[in-house]
């Protein structure tokens, strides 16, 4: 069983120590503030629908670009300006998954959403956020499969 990307594990450890809802929300907002949408050099609007995350109401898009070292660089956008949770999730994934071994990315379980956002997250939001993770994991698995 491959370990998770180190930065993702670091985030998971951080969130594991969080004791209150307020603390969790503040941390997620701080992470969402770090979100940067895909550069225009990679993709411009209107985006190709094949990059859309199906099931995400915040209209997230994910791009996975091959790197010379065999890893992937991940880029994201969230079209809904109110999609703050999606932005936080994308920021975590961008910082954690770009350039790390694909086996680590492929090992990520969508359930980590609940470590970040808590168990009381609405079902719809939990599903949408898991689908962003699934899109990243799927890209890594496809590259591994093709080797």
């Amino acid at each position: 069983m491959a370990s998770y990307p180190p930065k993702l594990q670091e985030y998971l450890d951080d969130f594991g120590f969080i004791g209150s809802r307020e603390e969790r929300v503040d941390y997620l907002i701080a992470i969402a503030d770090e979100f940067r949408p895909v550069p225009a050099a990679i993709a411009s609007k209107p985006y190709d629908e094949k990059y859309r995350v199906v099931g995400c109401e915040s209209e997230a898009f994910v791009w996975a670009l091959d790197r010379p070292d065999g890893g992937l660089d991940f880029y994201f956008d969230v079209l809904n300006p109110q999609g703050l949770s999606a932005m936080a999730m994308c920021a975590i994934l961008e910082q954690s998954c770009s350039g790390v071994p694909l086996s680590q990315v492929a090992a990520i379980d969508g359930e980590v959403v609940f470590t970040f956002f808590g168990r009381d997250i609405s079902m719809g939001k939990g599903r949408g956020l898991s689908e962003i993770i699934n899109a990243v994991v799927y890209s890594a698995k496809q590259r591994l499969k093709a080797r």
């Binding site: 307020e22 907002i29 079902m123």
Partner: protein, 286 residues
């Protein structure tokens, strides 16, 4: 979108515009309340002076599937610093879906001096109006509420069964796929599904979002009448029950029928499909 007063609503006083809210930010008789599905939105930026009412931790009983009781409502009202005379303005994400839900719960406790900010959070945002992360300092109040009145605007399973057997008006506000039984849950909400798919016998399908424009504002009365009266034939004088999956989307339709179109007797069945579609022996149509 036209002025609220020119849209022909039965009760235009239940809606206020973003301009009205901007002009009443310092009004001591007004409390602005944000209610969202996403718990990150309010802390990330809200209308100056607005407080938050969260649908999970503030409005629902933590153990039973029910709403808060009288003591809980009094505590909530005290925390957000309102009196029975305070004008409460709700707004939120998803075209005010959660704002209308909160307003409906407040009306269960007879706090009827409550209104919706037309267009909700998105309209305020898109108009470039001020948002702040600063939480307001609220002086707590002592609020004396009546017992929750479930008899007027809330429907329960047995009442819905009797209503449908008598041929009463029912509006299913879920998506067409849920109504037909093709889907057992709303897209993206797999764990709030049901054992059986379909709809309550006799229900008409009108997804809640048909009442809203793309910018989240409500359609005009004429447009709403074309949908609810002319298209599906509802009679405003007859009792009507709206339902969805857990009663949140249908609170939006409840607001439209009762306040904007002036239907006499509209109830929200908050048990909705997660109760009906899981209950043993209840009739279902596909």
């Amino acid at each position: 979108m036209s002025d609220i007063s020119s849209r022909g609503y039965a009760n235009p006083d239940k809606l206020v515009s973003t301009e009205w809210v901007a002009a009443h930010l310092q009004d001591e008789n007004v409390r602005i309340v944000e209610s969202n599905e996403d718990p990150l939105l309010y802390p990330s930026g809200h209308i100056p002076g607005a407080v938050e009412v969260d649908w999970v931790k503030d409005l629902n009983d933590p153990l039973r599937r029910d709403y808060l009781g009288r003591a809980g409502f009094e505590a909530l009202a005290g925390r957000i610093g309102i009196s029975p005379d305070t004008t409460v303005i709700f707004y939120g994400d998803k075209s005010n879906w959660w704002a209308t839900y909160a307003l409906w719960v407040f009306e269960l406790f007879d706090h009827s001096n409550a209104k919706i900010m037309d267009g909700g959070r998105l309209k305020w945002l898109e108009e470039g109006r001020e948002l702040t992360r600063e939480r307001p300092t609220i002086s707590p109040t002592s609020y004396s509420a009546p017992e929750r009145d479930d008899s007027r605007i809330r429907a329960f399973r047995d009442g819905v069964l009797a209503h449908t057997q008598a041929g009463g008006q029912l509006v299913d506000v879920r998506s067409p796929g849920e109504f037909s039984g093709e889907k057992l849950h709303m897209e993206g909400y797999p764990q709030e599904g049901a054992v059986r798919g379909g709809h309550i016998p006799g229900a008409s399908s009108v997804p809640w979002s048909r009442a809203a424009n793309d910018d989240g504002t409500f359609k005009t009365a004429a447009e709403l009448r074309a949908i609810y009266l002319e298209e599906i034939g509802l009679n405003p004088a007859e009792p009507t029950i709206a339902y969805c999956r857990i009663g949140e989307r249908s609170s939006h339709t409840w607001f439209v029928l009762s306040n904007l179109l002036g239907f006499n007797d509209v109830r929200n069945y908050d048990g909705s499909w997660t109760e009906w579609g899981n209950s043993v022996g209840l009739p279902i149509e596909k």
